[in-house]
């Protein structure tokens, strides 16, 4: 158990190091570009205008940008270890502050969407499995394929068209009360529900084939008790993994939905900073998203032994 933990921690650190290194070198792959972007913001205040050669040279000298990429990377990583992610070129605010301000919006959206997908996906998955090959199963399963195949940004536009523009029930975009949360959460929850429903169904069917279910039937237990105590608990183990992964995806992957609904979260910050070529913010976002994703995976692994004593007990 302890060895396993150390191994996971090692992989965790490795992922962080590799992903940040990769992103750092990718963002610096165009030689001299960083100085140009910085000069644009410092002297001209916009990414649209072109700075003169003297201005670029000034920036290079001031921030010591002529040294090798490796040495720049080391100083960035050293500062990042102390929690200093640098300052945004655009706003000149510390990157960590920019991210923290947007954290609540992203977490709220991710949490509500996952909750929604649980309440829809798991019951429908169980229903479809219990009534395998019936009309109910057929309807549930095909709706799920539809949910997975539908581009979420298109669903978002359709929902916006019907509920905001035609029926005037919800605000189109923005951040604030519960009413703003409904459309983005439904959009994100749809695909997640479909994924969770499909997995619950197949996992349930798999478990129902096991010998211990036959044994429970042979003992004369009621259908209800077989389902709840024997089948469901085992069937939910893979579902929990997917829930964690979905939550991780939502924390980082809501990029498009946050952009559509003008939801002030991390994903939107990332897109904005990519188009503004705001390198420190891009780096900060990637670091942060990886961190959240890995922490969630970590948490799921910690939950496993509680549900399934076979895991982790050795």
């Amino acid at each position: 158990m302890f060895f396993n933990f150390v191994k996971r921690l090692g992989i965790f650190c490795l992922v962080l190091i590799i992903s940040t290194t990769l992103v750092f070198f990718m963002l610096h792959s165009l030689p001299g570009e960083k100085a140009v972007v910085m000069a644009k913001y410092i002297f001209l205040g916009s990414v649209e205008l072109n700075p003169s050669n003297e201005e670029i040279q000034l920036v290079k000298d001031k921030f010591d940008l002529d040294r090798s990429l490796i040495s720049q990377y080391i100083s960035w990583a050293g500062a990042a270890l102390h929690g200093d992610l640098g300052r945004s070129y655009k706003s000149n605010d510390p990157v960590s502050q920019e991210i923290l301000i947007r954290l609540p919006a992203t977490i709220t959206l991710a949490f509500v969407s996952v909750l929604m997908s649980l309440f829809i996906g798991i019951p429908l998955g169980i229903l479809a499995a219990v009534k395998q090959n019936s009309i109910t199963d057929y309807i549930c399963s095909s709706t799920a394929v539809l949910g997975i195949s539908m581009p979420n940004f298109w669903l978002a536009l359709l929902l916006m068209l019907v509920f905001s523009l035609k029926l005037n029930l919800t605000p189109t975009i923005g951040y604030g009360g519960l009413s703003h949360l409904i459309l983005p959460a439904v959009t994100l929850g749809t695909a997640s529900s479909a994924v969770i429903m499909r997995l619950t169904r197949s996992s349930m069917l798999e478990v129902m084939r096991q010998d211990y279910i036959r044994a429970a039937r042979g003992k004369g237990l009621s259908r209800k008790s077989i389902f709840i105590t024997h089948a469901l608990r085992n069937a939910l183990i893979p579902v929990i993994t997917i829930i964690g992964l979905e939550f991780g995806h939502l924390l980082g992957g809501t990029v498009i939905i946050e952009t559509i609904f003008a939801w002030p979260g991390i994903g939107r910050l990332l897109i904005d900073s990519i188009s503004a070529r705001d390198i420190p913010v891009i780096q900060g976002c990637v670091l942060f998203i990886t961190l959240m994703y890995m922490l969630l995976n970590f948490a799921i692994d910690a939950v496993y032994p509680l549900i399934d004593p076979r895991i982790g007990g050795n």
Binding site: S149, P151, F153, L157, L158, I274, R277, I282
Partner: protein
Amino acid sequence: MQKTRSLNEFLKNKASVMGLIIILLLVMTAALADYISPYDTDKVVLKEKLKPPSWQHPMGTDQLGRDVLSRIIYGTRTTFELSMLVVLFTSAFGVFIGIIAGYYRGIVDEILMRLIDVLLAFPSIILALVIIGAIGPGVFNTVLAISLVGWLFYARVARASTLSIREKEYVEGARAMGCSDAYICFFYVLPNCLPPIIVLMTLNLGSVILSIASLGYLGLGAQPPIPEWGTMLNDGKEYLRDCPWLSVFPGLMIMISVLAFNFIGDGLRDAIDPRQLVIK
């Protein structure tokens, strides 16, 4: 025998057959775009702009008066060309790496698999976004950004199959007959690890289409005036209230294509082996 059984199994699945028909229709649309498209995709007719669907323009016209149907038809070509390119490239590379890792095992295999674990743990759309952010938007860069992550799945699946195939008697026999490693990999291992790879390719085509459209929608993929469904959605979203046809039709096309590939993929998977692959 095995093949006939799998084929029958596949053809019995109505959804898969429907998916196959849809894809054939779409591929034909893409191939025959020059003949069936009613208008020139780039022809700007400003006095015809933002017209709702009618007999002249079955899907209406966009903000520049271009015929939406023609752009959708050419968009089929863009989408299919790009996604096939990504899938062929990534599967070939991934299978190559996977077979080598699985066949030779050892330290290279170990490092490679850890690397793949690490890269797969990272949300792929973010990585694609950052790559685009670094090298700039465009069609080629979209293909590159999606491919850089895409091959990992293939490598993993190919390696897993190779691990079991290399222990088979027929590989043993080939080795005894003095076949070289390259020969064995190409003529014995490769054909036998193809079935799960083909399933993966089909399902992957659907998700690649989604990724291409997502990048297009964010304005980072194919740049105007190239007709591409995601880019068309991006252009149309400003007119959502008054001209919903600009958003509805491209999205519908994306959904139909992805759905069809998912139907085929599900059917193939069930036909080949229901429990061989678990793909989200």
